[in-house]
């Protein structure tokens, strides 16, 4: 590579890095003050960038005014998010707040997608005229100079703000000890809102600058997920140090920019290299032994005194229960024969997602660990089964168990960092891994079959006409019942107790002799194997696997849906799967709606509804919908005179676990 190219790439890298740094500063600002890791940071910046685009490019408002409007919008949005959806969660574990920010991420990306189009090309806002400044050996764009100047000014400004300004000092005080700050007369709520507003303002500026010249395409996906690079930088600074975050951001930007053109790497032509690098940085930052960060993001919440659901008593005897379950399964088995082939296909799809969600109940519900990569694990199972069949000519029934086994091993591999990482940090890691899957693994032609996807022939069993969706449904039903049995057995027995002990108080579990690492690894592996099973069976159902089936928001939607339903509820997995599969069809069927919205927009409504519902549910029904509704019904029945005769709790007694009330863990209790 010649020096000129190297220099321009380095400069481009520095510029991109400066933008990641702006993002990272916003994240640090919010985290430092309010201890909330804002996954919607990129989405807020993205939304603001589209606002600027609307004013400047579509309404031809003066560019500077448009930018100011966008920043003001973002500041307001940040304030609203804090005031109405974060503040009500005071006292709840940090991960609950993270889940709310994930909900916002879904909401914002889908709203922007509906208004401006999710995949359409948008001409970015142009802040400065085209042109370059020539230096010996290299020339630099005006836009790049603006980026650097703005980033530099904001960094210096923010640093001195924290040191000198009254609000900055108050933020530091709140960060250190909110209750003491409150006693000292600092209006903690206002300080928190200010941190969110400022952080969101920074996100807007970063988004607008990043989209210039198409450095990052102006679409809902790219700008939203730049947050991963900013997370990498913020984590390198221990989530609190601005200078370290800044340096890490620049370094990451330069390496991402230069590395693909380096001899040796260039030939490999690795797609998603930038994401791999970011993942590497994140893992490195988190896996340094005894890093202050690990202690910070893994701090065990004080024993939460939050309300726990009363265990809804089921009025039925075990025998009656069993009879009801058997009757339910029998009914399910004949149901597709009452419908046409398309109806049977839809029911089959519901079962596929229900199986995947069942796997998720193990990690999210029982172990209390967030996973933002479950859909990718599903996709992995489907693609691997397809690739195995295509490359080695083995049959579906051989490829299926192999994919499940590979899913198990993959879960173990991914779980390995989870040995040390948990809670907030695990959410970041799984999000980064999910992106590596989307950008890298799923783009490998030999694995995924490329853009066209991979054909998977409907498997056959002698004597059965599996080509009919009604019959294939029976296969899925058997798998579903089998997985339910495994999940129930885990939950009701010794392993479930160990999992929940880890969720409730990890140090208490370790002190009781529970091999925490081994148990977590097993949970991850089992959940991954189940996801792979769902993916492979789904491939057999659809007779094809494509990247389009696994859009990047899918994992977030899965987590949202499961959380909404109640993260360890078995019935919830069926309702949730039904929502995922049916809601696009139902929405298309609403006459007025399809008049206003195109087909693609209708699809955007699913993440919108699930994200919005997630935010509302976390605040209004923290236990999840199924247990809450179940308890309400049980209560209503108890008041009803004939209650004792008709008592049939929907909620499962095992659903009592507080939803996503993740208890974080301290490596140590600290100095006595």
């Amino acid at each position: 590579m010649n020096t000129g190219l190297f220099l321009s790439l380095t400069i481009l890298g520095i510029v991109n890095g400066a933008m990641y740094a702006l993002g990272a500063m916003g994240i640090v600002l919010v985290y430092k003050t309010t201890r909330v890791l804002n996954f919607a940071h990129g989405a807020i910046g993205m939304a603001a960038t589209f606002v600027a685009y609307q004013f400047a490019n579509l309404w031809h408002v003066n560019v500077m005014i448009s930018v100011l409007i966008a920043v003001a919008f973002s500041v307001l949005l940040g304030g609203v998010v804090e005031r109405f959806t974060i503040r009500p969660l005071e006292g709840r574990p940090p991960l609950v707040k993270v889940v709310v920010t994930l909900g916002w991420l879904l909401v914002l990306t889908s709203i922007v997608g509906i208004i401006w189009g999710a995949s359409a090309y948008h001409l970015p806002v142009q802040l400065v005229p085209n042109g370059t400044v020539r230096f010996p050996g290299v020339s630099i764009d005006y836009a790049e100079i603006i980026d650097l100047v703005v980033a530099g000014l904001l960094t210096v400004g923010l640093a001195s703000f924290f040191r000198r300004a009254q609000l900055g000092v108050a933020m530091r005080a709140v960060a250190d000890d909110p209750s003491t700050a409150r006693i000292l007369g600092i209006k903690v709520d206002r300080v928190n809102a200010a941190a969110w507003a400022m952080g969101s303002g920074l996100a807007a500026i970063a988004g607008i600058l990043l989209s210039q010249k198409g450095k990052v395409p102006l679409d809902t996906y790219s700008l939203t997920l730049v947050v991963i690079f900013s997370f990498a930088a913020a984590l390198s600074g221990g989530l609190v140090s601005l200078p370290k975050a800044f340096a890490a951001a620049i370094a990451l930007g330069v390496v991402q920019s230069v590395a693909p053109s380096l001899p040796g790497i260039k030939q490999l032509n690795i797609m998603g290299l930038a994401d791999l690098l970011a993942l590497g940085v994140i893992l490195f930052a988190l896996l340094r032994p005894r890093s202050a960060l690990v202690r910070a993001v893994s701090r065990e919440a004080p024993e939460s005194a939050g309300a726990r659901p009363a265990r809804p008593a089921s009025g039925r005897s075990p025998a009656a229960r069993r009879a009801a379950v058997v009757a339910g399964i029998a009914l399910a088995a004949v149901l597709p024969f009452a419908l046409n082939e398309y109806g049977a296909y839809t029911l089959s799809q519901i079962l596929v997602f229900a199986i995947a969600l069942l796997g998720m109940t193990l990690i999210t519900g029982l172990l209390g660990q967030p996973s933002l990569m479950h859909a990718e694990l599903m996709g992995f199972g489907g693609f691997l089964a397809g690739a195995l069949i295509a490359h080695s000519g083995i049959g579906f029934w051989v490829a299926l168990p192999l994919s499940v086994a590979a899913g198990y091993l993959l879960g173990m591999l991914v779980g390995l960092p989870a040995l040390r990482i948990r809670g907030l940090a695990l959410a970041v890691v799984t999000l980064a891994i999910a992106r590596v899957f989307d950008q890298f693994v799923f783009t490998l032609n030999w694995f995924s079959g490329g853009v066209g996807g991979r054909r998977v022939d409907r498997p056959s069993i002698p004597g059965l006409n599996l080509a009919s969706d009604r019959v294939y449904f029976q296969v899925l039903l058997v798998a579903f019942v089998g997985v339910v049995m495994v999940v129930l057995s885990v939950r009701r027995g010794r392993i479930g107790r160990m999992f929940q002990s880890i969720r409730d108080a990890e140090s208490g579990a370790a002190a009781s002799g529970v091999a925490v690492t081994r148990a977590k690894l097993f949970g991850f592996s089992l959940a991954s194997a189940i996801a792979a099973l769902a993916g492979a069976l789904g491939a057999g159902l659809d007779q094809t696997v494509t990247i389009q089936q696994y859009p990047w928001t899918k994992s977030l939607v899965l987590l949202a849906i499961l959380t909404i339903m109640g993260s360890s509820s078995i019935q919830g997995t069926i309702y949730g799967a039904a929502f995922i599969v049916l809601s696009p069809q139902v929405l298309e069927g609403i006459p007025g709606l399809s008049f206003f919205l195109g087909k693609e927009d209708l699809r955007q409504l699913v993440p919108l509804i699930s994200g919005g519902a997630l935010v509302l549910q976390t605040i209004l029904a923290p236990q999840g919908l199924v247990p809450t509704v179940g308890a309400a019904l049980a209560g209503a029945r108890a008041r009803w005179p004939l209650g004792s005769l008709t008592h049939r709790g929907i909620a499962n007694p095992a659903d009592r676990g507080p939803q996503l009330e993740f208890e974080l863990e301290a490596a140590a209790e600290g100095v006595s």
């Binding site: 065990e300 004080p302 024993e303 939460s304 726990r308 265990r311 495994v486 057995s489 885990v490 027995g493 010794r494 392993i495 107790r497 160990m498 929940q500 002990s501 969720r503 409730d504 108080a505 140090s507 208490g508 579990a509 370790a510 002190a511 009781s512 002799g513 529970v514 091999a515 925490v516 097993f522 009592r656 676990g657 507080p658 490596a667 140590a668 209790e669 600290g670 100095v671 006595s672």
Partner: protein
């Protein structure tokens, strides 16, 4: 025979020397108290012994075996059980399930065997439940057995945590201020529990406690920790009479109190 031997243990957090060349030992069947003012390093020492912190220097021997390199859960399975200053029960599990967890962790059946409900795994589970029944009886937890531990008042949560620690049949029990927040009557019943545990189960106990009357009343031996160092040790009566201890920890009132029997 010494169940626990701590030799030359030091640990610093940044500039703060939390533990300075600490030497102590606990003999089998003894009830030993660890006292000292706030910030003296008592809980830090517990964290070092139970494996949640690794010391900068020094060695730890448990039942004659070096345990320095072992993880907390490994030490727990060897027979060191502990409670926490801030109670850490498994709040969504019932009391019975809380007590079953230590048994679950020691269950030799594989995870797969447990999930598939193999006969031998079920036998183990039944044994675990029987084991737990004994502790429930000992601590009188029968009436709350099916309640989620998180729903219980603090005193009962502490008891559940104590029961959980006992459920692993530990050789050594580390209790971190288990009586804090208890009223006089609860404290008395707790003291009786401790003596029963020692006498009936033969468990060796190391106890951090601020309630001087409780410590003096039931402990066989005392260590006094001050600024990370063992300042004094000995039988309760000797420690109580030690002027340095009186000055550093017990305070003037206690000193006067201590002097009364001496004059009498």
């Amino acid at each position: 025979m010494a169940v626990l031997e701590v030799s030359g243990v030091s640990l610093a957090f940044g500039g703060l020397q939390a533990l300075k060349d600490v030497n102590c030992h606990v003999n089998a069947g003894e009830l030993v108290g660890l006292i000292g003012p706030n910030g003296a390093g008592k809980t830090t020492l517990f964290n070092v012994v139970s494996g949640f912190l690794s010391p900068d220097q020094g060695s730890l021997r448990f039942a004659g075996r070096e345990i320095g390199g072992l993880a907390p859960d490994e030490r727990a399975r060897l027979g060191i059980a502990r409670t926490f200053q801030a109670v850490r029960v498994f709040h969504s599990l019932t009391v019975e399930e809380n007590l079953l967890v230590p048994q679950d962790a020691r269950d030799p059946a594989s995870f797969a065997a447990s999930i598939l409900r193999m006969p031998w795994a079920l036998v183990q589970e039944r044994k675990s439940r029987e084991q737990v029944r004994g502790i429930v009886h000992l601590l009188d937890l029968g009436s709350v057995l099916d309640r989620p531990a998180g729903d219980l008042p603090l005193g009962l949560r502490r008891k559940v945590e104590l029961g959980r620690a006992l459920a692993s049949k530990p050789e050594l029990l580390l209790l971190d201020e288990s009586a804090s927040g208890m009223d006089t009557r609860e404290t008395q019943s707790f003291a009786a529990d401790l003596l029963r545990i020692r006498d009936l189960l033969g468990t060796t106990i190391l106890l951090i406690e601020h309630d001087v009357a409780l410590v003096m009343g039931i402990c066989d031996y005392l260590y006094v920790l001050n600024f990370g160092e063992i300042m004094a040790e000995g039988r309760p009566a000797d420690v109580r009479a030690d002027p340095r201890v009186v000055e550093a920890y017990l305070g003037v009132e206690a000193a006067e109190e201590a002097n009364v029997p001496a004059r009498a």
